[in-house]
Symmetry: C2
């Protein structure tokens, strides 16, 4: 499980950074990746990345501002063009369906895979055996959502060496133990699951927030998250500007991470005014003063999300 940022600039692309898009790479977990937002040029960034459009499984749009959205029709078309034929699910605020369908219909784009568009206003959006995704509304100029991606705990592994010693080989008795039932060994010993099961592998939580002013909804979304991705459009000396444009400062992002008890914070969505490395370092330092595990999101770097203790 890795984060891979493809756009970290606010509002418009610059020579240094593209508009917002972020991949959550789930190669080990699902043999796929998920995309969060899709600013113009995201498909171009994917060409320069280790990602393959055909492996894209879900797209989550935080809000409909152009710098998070306008790369979507091109990406959907190119996925078909490049032979992506597995279903794709697209989640986002109301209006998304009209935007996508109008663009694809007027351009007569041929999408040869199943595209499911789910408009939502928060709640539990996705759940299967290994993942759940929850969403809640933030505080932005237009409806903007945060996403909490929850990996489910993996049960501990059976200690097959130990079982062999008790004379138990793979078969129905393995199944019983996995279901939590005790079994009887050939020697007549009662074996509890806990005796032969390793530790549960705790699932990870990644929280990716859309553009937002500081707001209470952030905290449950980010609670205890292994990684929190938060916009940091401005330095705190521009807190008023941030408020006016419905954005956060680096310090405010750090305060949210701290309050939520997140384990690490990724700052992104930087105003074009922060062009040079020393300016970006100031954003980082400002956040670190409040929340030491803060880092700057850099495009085209892979950030592994480790399990606690790994």
């Amino acid at each position: 499980m890795e984060l891979y940022f493809m756009g970290t600039n606010a509002g418009v692309p610059s020579l240094e950074r593209n508009v917002t898009s972020l991949a959550l790479r789930l190669l080990d977990e699902r043999r796929s990746f998920w995309l969060f937002d899709c600013g113009e040029g995201t498909q171009h960034q994917i060409l320069r990345s280790p990602l393959k459009l055909s492996k894209l499984e879900c797209i989550f749009i935080t809000h409909l501002h152009g710098d998070h959205l306008f790369g979507l029709p091109g990406l959907l078309s190119s996925r078909a063009y490049q032979g992506g034929d597995t279903p794709l699910a697209l989640y986002g605020p109301p209006g998304l369906k009209k935007y996508v369908n109008t663009s694809l219909e007027l351009s007569e784009s041929r999408i040869n895979y199943k595209l499911e568009i789910v408009e939502h206003e928060g709640g539990c959006l996705f759940e299967d055996a290994t993942f759940r995704v929850e969403s809640a509304k933030l505080d932005h100029r237009i409806a903007s959502y945060g996403y909490r991606v929850i990996e489910k705990d993996l049960p501990g592994k059976l200690d097959t060496e130990l079982l062999k010693k008790y004379g138990i080989t793979p078969g129905p008795l393995y199944g019983k133990l996995k279901r939590g039932e005790s079994i009887l060994t050939p020697e007549g010993k009662h074996l509890q699951p806990a005796d032969v099961l390793g530790q549960v592998k705790k699932g990870r939580v990644v929280t990716i927030l859309g553009d937002t002013r500081p707001c209470p909804a952030e905290i449950p979304l980010a609670e205890g998250a292994d990684a929190l991705v938060h916009e940091a459009t401005f330095l705190h000396d521009l807190a008023e500007t941030a408020y006016t444009y419905h954005h956060s400062t680096a310090r405010q992002a750090a305060e949210a991470a701290k309050e939520a008890g997140a384990k690490s914070l990724y700052l992104t969505h930087f105003s074009s005014r922060y062009k040079y490395e020393d300016q970006l370092q100031r954003l980082k330092q400002e956040a670190e003063e409040v929340f030491p595990s803060s880092r700057l999101a850099r495009e085209h770097e892979l950030y592994p999300i480790l399990r606690s203790g790994e």
Copy 2:
């Protein structure tokens, strides 16, 4: 007057080339530039070019396929963001207005300049003192148009040195000569305009065609053009594929240039399969065999359009 290509690839962007967009730079002529098509990433290409979005005066869309269109909402938004406040005129086939308005409205993009969207099905689209633009429908899978940009002839300049010798200084008599009337010198000599006017400066013609199969409509559009920009999606060994997908081969582009008596041909809109330089050279050679003044359009190069004899 210069051509500046920002996208020369067909269908999808590649690592080497972007999807279609072409600027006609009219700095000396109008202190502005015009854009023909606007594939995704055009605004990114403009960042890397000598062009300034605020100087963009007109956009002409040849057809609504995504690779010619999907960069438009982002470019229009960014022009406002970057302080472009002069009016902008946008021409293209029916459906363009719905596409642009849906994208801008759903994203709540703020366009602080006058944006006029003109849907057309060919004909004379633009005319002022110095330029005229005509359009006609080509033969593509969806409605696709070619544009003929006609620079008007510049009248010859008055020979002020000669007039001085006749005792005529700047004033109402200058105006009379420019309007084609004869005048009387202080010495009583009748002076005809032709006696004191230099040669007319012939206006140039630039023809930019959308995606098309070879078709009769190309010829009047490209007649005698100083520069013809023509798609050359395939080599002629794939003429059947070209026909199936409603495209042209390099040889067919050259045949159109030859038949129309164009002065130079720019090949563009190359299939992604032509990735390497030797493949592109084969496209060029194939065209040159029919029409020697053929060249490959290269992104981020300026091609001056000279007047005949310059």
